[in-house]
Amino acid sequence: MTGTCARLRGVTDDDDFSRRVFVQRLSFFGGGVVLLGAACKKEEAKVSPPPALTTSHRSFTNEAWLTLVAAVDRLLPRDEDAGGVDAGVPEYIDRMLTTGNLPHFERNFSGGLAALDRRAERMFQKRFHEATTEQQDELMAIFKDSPPTSGEARWYEMLLVLSLEGFLGDPSYGGNKGEVGWKLVGFNLVGRNVKGDPQAPYDGSKTLHHLHCGGGKGC
């Protein structure tokens, strides 16, 4: 029970319900967990309803998708090893936001992308994905270093956590393509289910969706 369902002062955030923290850090039995929690600050302007999608992503407008791909590329750039975009992290985030499992994220994630674009326009008169990598890194750092309770910092953490899930999680969710994330950290899975067929089809996002809807009729 290591690592665990334990709270540590000065390590774990003491999240304050009244401040509407949306990422709750919890450590959990057995190596722990950051469980994604509660609600984002709604200081970001709402994006207009998405136009008909022309690409495979479902949770974002095409504009937001370009911003997301560029942001993931700065968090986990390709170098001598594969990066987040190689691993399909944007696809993971897109799919995760359609499972119904993270309603607050669905409501708030696009708002953060729009805020990132607005900041890019203000500082560099360009959209985020059109900025140079140095400019993009500067913008990402501004969001990261914003006061911990700000919408910027919370959105950054949401992006970071989802990106690491998509980079290092089970490939059936759409990320970690070719297990490139696992290769980077040297994680050798012993099989999804030791007794089962390691090649058996498994779809984590479907399982998550069933957890959300109860798995009954009409699920």
Binding site: T2, A6, D16, G32, V34, L35, A38, L76, D145, L160
Partner: protein
């Protein structure tokens, strides 16, 4: 319409509920077990970190079924999933690591032996270690525990060795043995609720490495889902109903427990009457169920005449440090064996007050869990210390090339007036029920104790010659290990349950999860909850046979 009455209705199927269900079924009594969560089968236990550790496979999501949490009554509550254990058949024993220690005789007599520190509510237990010892034997045999009892200053009296030989340990266990010996301490094998050999029709552990925080598809982990529940069902007398959320325990005109109201898997309201009603859904959730069971006879909640339901909530004092090794540094690091299985209990009780505490706890050594997402989120850091880009990838590569040994503390968590659980009528869960509201205000001795134990653990780590030792923290609590809230005792004025875990105020109501614990002990409580439930089963069966 109410269901047909049964002899016993048990709410919860974990370490507390399952032993009672098994024993009652064997004795021929008709039992219904209501379990809030799903009944997972071997095929459901996939090694998917996102599913198991980061969503609601085991724990509810904070926006569906929050626990309110605050550090001190003057603080605002936060909404979290803190202090849930697991919602599934088998409860927390499904994803546990299975560190199966016994309490020590002194845990039952702490006030007499050491005194109650000022500001604490330490009391002696109404039973002795000797009364529980045969049931520890029974729990170890029924669940399946692997270990090797070796002499050390705090070895509890026991009749014999464990039912199963110890699991094969990583070579670092030998290094820890040497290091502890050099410091004048005792490195002892950690008993595990994991079977090292085929046992009672179950397959042995295959050393798959993904153990704690996952369910075991092999059935080798001795969760009640793999051991006691199948045996209980096999008696033909026990019916287990998964996805059934108990909402209230009703009482009759005489103030006896009459039935359990619950929402079934389809969300329909059902009523299960029973002669005996048992709550076993964790210390926090049992308190919540009783407090939400309000009637004209019990306006403050069931069995809560004295206002003590929910008081004296206990967790386990937590602290942790880790040793980071370059994976190529020593030949013995190369072994892939997942179990360290070493503990140090030399500081279970201190001889005097020199270090600001008397009652200590246990150091448990283990490899860092191989959960890469959790590790990466930690490595990325937060705020101005946070990193991204190439710096983050470099750190992930360094993680790949290292091995990390950790220890964690299971320390005494002193009961105080400041740590308790209530219900908050203003915050409701997805069932429309008031949620548990937890207030934690720690006794300062707990922190002095934890710091001392962490420092001793770091001495052991340093002896192993790592590249560095990192302190994770010295002031925390493991909320999955919980007790208190319905402490047992002889005096109805100062306890909720009697020595048999029957409510003083409701003679056919029992609570058999960790709620009965007056003190936390310095070890994880899981085995003790199971042993106590076997003990209660004997008392209850004798009473039922007398027709009482």
């Amino acid at each position: 319409m109410a269901k047909d009455a049964v002899d016993v209705c048990i709410v919860g199927s974990g370490a507390g509920g399952a032993p009672l269900a098994l024993e009652l079924g064997r004795a021929g009594f008709k039992v219904v077990v209501l379990e809030k969560g799903a009944w997972y089968r071997d095929g459901d236990f996939v090694h998917d970190e996102i599913l198991n550790s980061r969503r609601n496979f085991f724990m509810p999501l904070p926006w569906d079924e929050p626990h309110l949490w605050r550090l001190g009554a003057d603080q605002p509550y936060s909404r979290s999933n803190e202090a849930w254990t697991a919602n599934c058949v088998g409860g927390g024993t499904v994803h546990m690591s299975g560190y199966f220690y016994r309490f020590k005789p002194i845990d039952f007599r702490q006030k007499t032996e050491l005194g109650a520190p000022a500001g604490s509510n330490v009391v002696d237990w109404p039973i002795t270690y000797q009364a529980l010892a045969p049931y520890y034997d029974k729990a170890e045999a029924e669940l399946g525990v692997s270990g090797n009892a070796v002499p050390h200053p705090f070895l509890e009296p026991r009749k014999g060795n464990y039912p199963l030989p110890p699991l094969v340990a990583h070579p670092i266990a030998g290094e820890i043995d040497r290091a502890a010996k050099g410091l004048g301490w005792h490195s002892i094998p950690t008993a595990r609720g994991i079977i090292s050999q085929p046992y009672r029709g179950r397959d042995a552990c295959v050393y798959c490495t993904l153990c704690g925080s996952y369910g075991c598809e092999h059935g080798a982990k001795s969760g009640t889902n793999a051991s006691l529940i199948p045996a209980a069902i096999a008696t033909g007398n026990v019916e287990l109903r998964p996805k059934c959320m108990a909402t209230e325990i009703t009482v009759d005109a005489k103030g006896l427990a009459k039935s359990v109201i619950y929402l079934d898997a389809d969300g329909e309201r059902q009523e299960q009457p029973a002669r005996i009603i048992v709550s076993s859904c964790t210390a926090v959730e049992s308190a919540r169920l009783l407090l939400n069971s309000v009637s004209s006879r019990f306006p403050r909640g069931l069995a809560n005449d004295n206002g003590l339901v929910g008081r004296n909530l206990l967790f386990s004092s937590f602290g942790q440090s880790r040793a980071v090794f370059d994976a190529r540094k020593y030949d013995w690091l190369a072994s892939p064996m997942p179990f360290v299985n070493r503990s140090v209990q030399d500081f279970y009780v201190m001889p005097d007050e020199r270090f600001g505490f008397r009652k200590g706890g246990t150091l448990g050594f283990m490899w860092q869990h191989p959960n890469p997402i959790f590790a990466a989120v930690g490595l990325a850091g937060k705020g101005e210390k946070g990193i991204f880009g190439k710096a983050l990838k470099d750190r992930l590569r360094a993680y790949r090339d290292s091995k990390v040994l950790e220890f964690e503390i299971y320390g005494e968590f002193l009961p105080t007036d400041g740590t308790y659980v209530g219900v908050d009528a203003n915050v409701k869960d997805r069932f429309g029920l008031p949620v548990a509201a937890i207030t934690v205000s720690r006794h300062p001795r707990d922190f002095a104790m934890t710091r001392f134990l962490v420092e001793r653990g770091e001495e052991v780590l340093e002896q192993l010659g790592p590249d560095r030792v990192e302190r994770v923290g010295v002031a925390g609590e493991t909320t999955i290990l919980q007790g208190g809230t319905c402490r047992f005792g002889k005096d109805p004025a100062t306890s909720v349950l009697d020595a048999d875990c029957r409510a003083h105020a409701v003679k056919n109501l029992y609570v058999v999860d960790g709620s009965f614990l007056p003190t936390s002990g310095g070890v994880p409580v899981t085995l003790t909850i199971a042993a106590n439930s076997f003990r209660v089963a004997d008392q209850l069966i004798a009473r039922l046979k007398k027709g009482a």
